[in-house]
Amino acid sequence: MSGEKPQRYFFSTSDTPPEDGWAYCYSFFGLSHPTKDTHLFQIQHKRDPCLRSKLVRTLLVDRNRGLGTMVVLSIAVGCL
């Protein structure tokens, strides 16, 4: 990426920035409970050497749990 473009990203289920200097990119909604054909995604934050986020996918497929539950939550993406 060029030097002008953002290099690091911060993912959060909160709509507030982690610290000054971060720019808000966008939000999307995921499910808060497993439904059919879903995977679990976990947000991890790393602070050293600089703050950034990772999204870890867990290949958890449970077709029988929580079916019919449609609850969504927002995930905000920020960049620096």
Binding site: D15, A23, F28, D37, H39, K46, L73, V77
Partner: protein
């Protein structure tokens, strides 16, 4: 001593309803972290309830750092790509394919959403709904009421809500042409005067001037509906929201008032002169993007 802790910890974890995380903390330092976690959990829930006083269908989801998303495409969901880069290792989630040294790791399918700001203008009384990034509380005269998240694509259980607009000069906005109960003064159609007598209307003349461009002395009126463009109303935006209560959502009432005709979205049932038209369920945000998302934005990743 250790086996005693192992014996009682599962029981206590059931009694106190502590999470797995605290279960292990409790094993290390009994009693302390259980209370801390319960207190923190109750505090978080009460704060969420305070922020969503009109929430329906139960408490909103907590701010957990994990979520579920589909691994297969589905109508109403958008593809979101997770990409990574080294030195330092980091991830990026974006709608776009990888560029440069970003490499695709996997994809998921989730709901694309937009933050909608509900704003009010005092005189002449007017309401508007503007999407994130296209409105500002610093617009002269417009006051931010609240905001809500709604979806960009239809999904089973959602209804389409349209934002229509017309532009009028002050004092010339007198009615809703889209209301079938009201006669359209611009209409040249035949009007039934009596059972056996039908006569053509006189030319009403250009009593309203409708322009695409908003001039300084004009006002833009919005209509919130489930219809498309009609009767002089232009389609400005559309979004999708739940038609039924979903956990964490708030019920929004689309209301209408006459003389002059105005539309608004409110959190309470209508009181005269306002009347409820229809309801939808979306995710309430106390403030709009100017407050809640009060930091710079980038439009491209």
């Amino acid at each position: 001593m250790v086996w005693v802790r192992w014996l009682f910890c599962p029981l206590l974890s059931v009694v106190f309803d502590v999470c797995t995380h605290c279960y292990f903390l409790f094993f290390l330092v009994p009693g302390v972290h259980v209370h801390d976690c319960l207190h923190m959990q109750l505090h978080t829930e009460s704060k969420l309830v305070d922020n969503h006083k009109k929430v329906v269908g139960g408490l909103p989801p907590n701010n957990s750092l994990e979520f579920f998303a589909r691994y297969a495409p589905q109508s109403g969901l958008v593809q979101i790509n997770c990409q990574d880069m080294q030195a330092p290792d980091r991830h990026k989630i974006t709608y776009k394919p990888p560029v440069g040294y970003w490499f695709q790791k996997y994809q998921m399918f989730a709901f694309a959403c937009t933050l909608w700001n509900v704003q009010e203008y005092p005189e002449p009384h007017n309401f508007r709904v503007m999407p994130q990034g296209q409105s500002s509380t610093t617009d002269p005269g417009w006051e931010q009421c609240y905001a809500f998240w709604a979806f960009d694509k239809p999904y089973p259980g959602m209804i389409r809500i349209t934002v229509l607009q017309q532009v009028f000069h002050p004092g010339q906005y007198s009615g809703d042409f889209g209301d079938p109960k009201q006669h359209d003064p611009k209409s040249y159609t035949k009007k039934k005067k009596s059972k056996h007598h039908v006569e053509e209307d006189k030319d009403p003349g250009p009593i309203m001037l409708k322009l695409r461009q908003v001039n300084a002395d004009q006002f833009m009126y919005q209509k919130f509906s489930q219809d498309g463009l009609h009767s002089g109303w232009d389609l400005l935006y559309d979004f999708y929201a739940w038609s039924m209560p979903i956990r964490g959502t708030t019920r929004f009432y689309v209301q209408i008032a006459r003389n002059p005709t105005r539309y608004r979205m409110d959190l309470d049932r209508a009181l005269p002169p306002w009347k409820d038209v229809f309801t939808f369920y979306a995710y309430l945000v106390d403030f709009g993007d100017e407050h809640l998302l009060n930091f710079p934005r980038v439009t491209s990743l």
